[in-house]
Symmetry: C4
Subunit: 316 residues, 4 copies
């Protein structure tokens, strides 16, 4: 990769980003499009460095349900094996006493115990089966206590619900050139208040023979709006102060340019401060494109057209 | 609609409202009285842009209970049909074996399984019914896990519990003219702390042949109080700085005037920052009216009279 | 009540307290010792102005449990009466068919249905009883969903857990006179961070023949500490700036003096900002008293003695 | 213990720490390594000063599960004894009517009632047993309501998940000498935003024959970073302004030096401000050591090596 040595001495460095100057030097982005950091942590056991709770509340709904059903399947399998191993004769009321049919009957008995339905046709008469059943029903209730918590965690986790345009664009803007991207809160009933946006720029610069990353906070036309009912197009005017002054597409690539974007606001559905990140790398920045309007005024009020979020036209 | 071209050059525009200058130009308000934005979002599938969770925690209690009962009714109907389709003979202990009576008996068996009561007189003996029952009892428990979460979400959602006067009034005030409205925290045990209020004014102005909305933040007599035990009458003095200086009722209408009001505070019942919006359009602004006192001092302490929130008298 | 006309022209009024100048003029305090406002709200129906949720999470534990048990008693009574009115013969498996014994047997069947134990000896065979049972078991589960939520609300409500001294004292302090009170976070494992305190003074003053309340924010020796592991003695030096300069005990009474105290902090157990209020009226202010130390250093570390919170000695 | 009288007159005292000047004079640290205050509270009954909820959500998972199982064991034991004392003949369906076998059978019946499985082979026919069973099943459901709440409290408590280096080091740094320690957010999916760090220094100083603690806030090279994807090495340059200027290891010991460290940030997994404390005493400060890099750049991206958090090398 060619390395840039273009550096605008007027632009002020941002030394407080928390990123290292040698970061991701072999390529790859700092921040993924979904806002997570492109970074792995190793050296400690999995259970200490991994948050299962966070995982469970952030996976898609179908995965969450699938995990619950698989868990339900497996734990009943386990208890079925325990009932069989302690002896089928400790269970009264069974119809079949051996083979695959018996296995299925015990399996269903296990589910009846785990969910505390407890029809009672089959029920434990021996000590070992009685003990197993009392542990299973407790385990069942605790499992549903956990499911209740995870479920509520999934519902109530404060999120910004922002969608960003896939690309940033560079285009003429009010007589100058500007870098722009836009975002929208896509949830019908949500609208953020006191929304601020910060855009940092990472550039790989060769100085005195060393290639290091440098970071700049890009000056924006507007860094705060009071509420976000519609979309917001964030504008960085590329003037003589800008670290991108005079850059070509090749320069962007040579400098391995990446924008990282941080949006904050107060979501009054959750009554909570929310935050969302994203990033644009040099190959996600389009030259000479202009976003088209994504709302229209009708007789019945304003309509925001989410599908136009990433629609732009040529403008030279 | 006639369009105003009255514009006070002294008043400072607020460019950070987040509203567009062509917004709602066909009429309709920006913000509904209940604080939601008068805006629709289209172009993405329903399930992506709609928050069912928020819907479930913000609907009235009777609707919430109705939805739960209807869900309960339907899901048991569904499972009843499944039990019937896999064969009634897989259920033991039934009294009737056919017709409407059997249907009802299976329906009640289904409710017993769904709620995990599981009396057990009727219970599954075949594989398909056993499997259905084990899925149903799990579904039942998960449904109640969801209900528990929604229920807690309804309880614990931090809200400001503010009631606003239905009208804003314009009346003489301390030797000048002022625009006023008032609000109160109507919950007995709640009292906000560090309450701030912001009022923005939207006006449709014709300039150079174009009709555009302009936004002003109205200067207020007081923008913050330390606590809100009683009502707060918000006062905007209409002096020469005010964008409303010299307006008549006709001017208000011609300019399609709308006030949008944002109140914030810290609610110590929820230990959370809360926020509530409302708006007043020109036809909700009354001229020459004065709010009457809504509290009285008695031997037994101060009494706040909520029913007087919107009571005013003529004053000219 | 004699009314004061002592007024210190140097002291700066606090006009943003949110209290009215005619407040509580018939006597009674502004703020109760427990921090609630001494104010009633009327004119709207109970269910709109009363927060049952807040009530349920703030009552003592024994009351909460008592309410749950009484509810459990009553709802089962209700369902028992329904089962009886739809006909006892719709329940199979009963031992007694009439009288007080039958009533008790049905009552216990009702509890078994409500809690979803569902032993099944007694179970519904008729339609009406089946329907009642299916509604009861659902009601039971929803009731426990509500109890789960209330219970979690009780646990997790962020609180400051502060105890204030019963009295404020006025005593010599570092060569001057000062008004002092103190407080402590009494929970073993809690310690607030970034604690601030604000003290407002309410005084009834006669000016031009009118008696009105005036409010002052008292200047304090220290208004913020970084953490609160121990007790904090809040000190208002009564110098020539103080609105209390030169007051005697009689003056305090004549002016119906009340201090209202607001403490805020960040509680890292709840990871939340917390807030607690209290007030001292003139008769809770003691002259010439000095608080004794409430902690001691031992070989085994520092010990905070909570029972000494309100211990003071004479000092003249 | 020898007491220091070294005092840098240039350094500015921090009088707002909330610690007393005689604190922990007999030795012992102010703040434990895990961030809790080294302080006991006495004089009030246990249940008022102890937070059982906090205890239950902060103990290790295995202890939490153990407590639940022990509670389950004991409460069923209690109810078993009640059933026996009210008379075994009030339970129908039992196989054994006396001795150890009967005890076990009733115990399992109790677990079936407590978990609301209610198979129903054994079920109460008498009043006393019926009443006991109805109380037990309610108690069971309420216990699981509490467990659900505690469980969710354990999951969702906002934490910083920071690991600090075991030692602080003093070493040459950019031409000067500096005191350094470092920390990292060890959870894979968490990354704090707007992280600030504050370091206070406690020193026992003899002045005019009295030994008192004095507190300084240490000036840091950097007190805030925008995000914390990697580790952060906090640097206090020991220049002529530093209260540690010219200190030897013996001086540190004589002054009973303790650093207390407070880190704050916004954790976007919990969408909440989080806070974590730790401290370093003089014997945890190593001279002439330098931390080695704890991340490496690879072809597949940046890797943070948590096991190197406390790795340092000699540097003189």
């Amino acid at each position: 990769m060619a390395v840039s040595n273009r550096i605008n001495p007027v632009s002020k460095l941002n030394r407080d980003t928390g990123f290292s100057d040698t970061g991701n030097i072999h390529g790859g982005r700092f921040i993924n499009r979904d806002g997570t950091f492109n970074l792995r942590k190793v050296g400690w056991p999995f259970w200490r460095r991994y948050s299962i709770y966070y995982r469970m509340i952030s996976i898609p709904l179908w995965q969450f349900i699938a995990i619950i059903f698989i868990f339900y399947l497996c734990i009943n399998l386990l208890f079925t094996l325990i009932y069989i191993s302690v002896g089928v004769d400790e269970l009264t009321g069974m119809i079949s006493r051996s083979g695959w049919k018996m296995f299925k009957e015990i399996y269903f008995f296990s589910t009846q115990t785990f969910t505390t339905v407890g029809y009672g046709r089959i029920n434990p008469v021996g000590d070992a089966a009685g003990l197993t059943a009392s542990i299973e029903s407790m385990t069942g209730l605790l499992s549903f206590a956990i499911a209740t918590g995870l479920n509520y965690g999934r519902f109530s986790r404060p999120r910004a619900h922002l969608a960003f345009s896939d690309n940033a664009v560079i285009a003429p803007y009010r007589g100058k050139t500007a870098l722009m991207f836009r975002f929208v809160c896509y949830k019908e009933q949500h609208a953020l208040t006191d929304v601020t946006v910060q855009v940092n720029l990472a550039m790989l610069i060769e100085e005195n023979g060393h290639a290091n990353y440098k970071y700049y906070e890009l000056p924006l036309e507007r860094t705060k709006i009071e509420s976000l009912p519609m979309n917001w197009t964030v504008v960085h005017p590329i003037d003589e102060q800008s670290p991108l002054a005079g850059f070509t597409i090749e320069d962007l690539k040579a400098a391995d340019v990446e924008l990282y974007v941080l949006v904050r606001g107060f979501n009054d559905v959750y009554s909570n401060t929310v935050l969302q990140r994203t990033s644009y790398t040099y190959d996600e920045i389009k030259l000479n494109r202009r976003f088209i309007h994504m709302y229209k005024e009708t007789e019945n009020g304003t309509i925001l057209e989410l599908h136009k979020l990433n629609k732009f036209v040529k403008q030279e």
